[in-house]
C-alpha cells in the first residue's frame, strides 16, 4: 500500500521535462554544487521530424563510454 511521504529532505539534482512528443530537456547537476549545471536536449524518434538530439539511452551509453 502506498503512503503519503514527507518531502522535507528531498533534494533533487537532475530534472527532465518533455517538450511535446519529440524531445526532452534534461538538466544535470542542478543542485547546490561548485560545478554545473549542464543542460541536454534528447530526441524521441517520431514520424514527423528529425530528432534534435540523441535518444535518451544514448546519453547514458555516452556516459558509460566516458
Amino acid at each position: 500500500m502506498a503512503e503519503a511521504m514527507d518531502a522535507g529532505e528531498y533534494r533533487p539534482n537532475i530534472f527532465a521535462r518533455p517538450l511535446g512528443k519529440e524531445s526532452v530537456v534534461t538538466v544535470v547537476g542542478a543542485g547546490a554544487a561548485p560545478t554545473g549545471p549542464w543542460s541536454y536536449v534528447t530526441g524521441i524518434p517520431n514520424p514527423g521530424s528529425d530528432m534534435v538530439g540523441p535518444p535518451p539511452p544514448y546519453l547514458s551509453v555516452a556516459a558509460w563510454a566516458a
Partner: protein, 262 residues
C-alpha cells in the same frame, strides 16, 4: 584510466566503442550494446584482465549491467498528493501503447589526454575528460552529436555517473510522455542522488576489485491532474516499459564485451 594509474599500469591511451542495437519484443528491454575497449600501451595479459574487470565494474557499468541502483519512486500529482511508487506491485502488467523503437547507432569515446591532472609529486588528482561521439539513424539522415564527460578541477563537464542518470531521467520522461494520457508539458522527472563518501577514488577501487556498490537514488515523477485522472498503478505500469528503467533495475543491456590491446 584512474584504475590504470593507481595500479601502475602503463596505459598511454584508451578508446571505447559501443554499438547500440534495438531489441524488440519478446526480450523487450529496448536496446542492447556491444562494447569494445581498446587499450594502448605496453600492457601484459594480467593487466589487460584487470582493466577489463574495471571497465565492467565502473559505477556507470554497474548501473547499466548489474542493477546496482536501489531506486525509490514517488509520484506527485498536480493536485498535491504524493505517494510512494516502490516497490512495483507483483504481477502488475506493463502498460499497453506504442513506444518508438530505439534507432541503431554507435558511441565512440576518445580520452582527452591533456585533461589528466597530476599534483606536484605526480599523483593523480583527476583522471580527466573524454569526448564522446554519438551517431544514430534519424528520420531523414544519420545524425551525430558530441557529449563531454569526466572529472577535472574546472568542472566544465559532468561526471559520467550523473550524466548517465541524466539519460535515465530523460528516458523516463520520454516514455511517460508517450504512454500516459494528456501529460503535455506538465510531466516532470526529478532524481535525488546521494553523494558517496569515497568519491572517484572509492569508485575506482571498487572497479579494480570487481565489487558491486549499491547506490540509493530517489526518483520523483510529477504528473498532471489527480490520482483519479492518472492512477498510481498506471504510472508504475508505464515505467515497466521504459528501457532505461528496466536497465537500471535489472541490468542486462551488455550483449558483448571485448577488451583488446591496440
Amino acid at each position: 584510466m584512474g584504475v590504470a594509474y593507481r595500479g601502475n599500469i602503463a596505459l598511454d591511451d584508451i578508446k571505447v566503442d559501443f554499438e547500440v542495437k534495438p531489441i524488440g519484443p519478446p526480450n523487450a528491454i529496448g536496446f542492447g550494446v556491444k562494447e569494445t575497449v581498446t587499450l594502448i600501451g605496453k600492457i601484459s595479459e594480467q593487466e589487460r584482465v584487470r582493466l577489463e574487470r574495471a571497465s565492467n565494474y565502473c559505477p556507470v557499468g554497474q548501473a547499466l549491467t548489474k542493477g546496482s541502483m536501489q531506486v525509490e519512486d514517488q509520484v506527485l500529482w498536480a493536485s498535491g498528493e504524493l505517494l510512494t511508487a516502490s516497490p512495483t506491485p507483483e504481477g502488475l502488467k506493463a502498460l499497453e501503447g506504442n513506444l518508438p523503437a530505439i534507432p541503431p547507432g554507435t558511441v565512440h569515446a576518445q580520452y582527452l589526454l591533456d585533461t589528466k591532472e597530476l599534483d606536484e609529486s605526480g599523483g593523480m588528482v583527476h583522471e580527466g575528460e573524454a569526448k564522446v561521439t554519438v551517431r544514430c539513424d534519424n528520420l531523414t539522415r544519420s545524425s551525430g552529436w558530441i557529449v563531454l564527460g569526466g572529472h577535472s578541477t574546472p568542472g566544465w563537464v559532468p561526471g559520467p555517473f550523473p550524466l548517465a542518470h541524466g539519460g535515465w531521467a530523460a528516458s523516463t520522461a520520454a516514455t511517460l510522455s508517450q504512454l500516459l494520457p494528456q501529460t503535455g508539458d506538465d510531466l516532470k522527472v526529478e532524481l535525488a542522488i546521494a553523494r558517496t563518501s569515497g568519491g572517484p577514488a572509492e569508485s575506482q577501487s571498487n572497479a579494480a576489485a570487481g565489487v558491486v556498490a549499491h547506490r540509493q537514488v530517489s526518483r520523483r515523477i510529477t504528473v498532471p491532474g489527480t490520482p483519479q485522472d492518472i492512477p498510481l498503478d498506471m504510472v508504475q505500469a508505464a515505467l515497466l516499459r521504459d528501457p532505461m528503467s528496466i536497465t537500471y533495475q535489472h541490468g542486462g543491456i551488455l550483449l558483448e564485451h571485448n577488451v583488446v590491446v591496440g
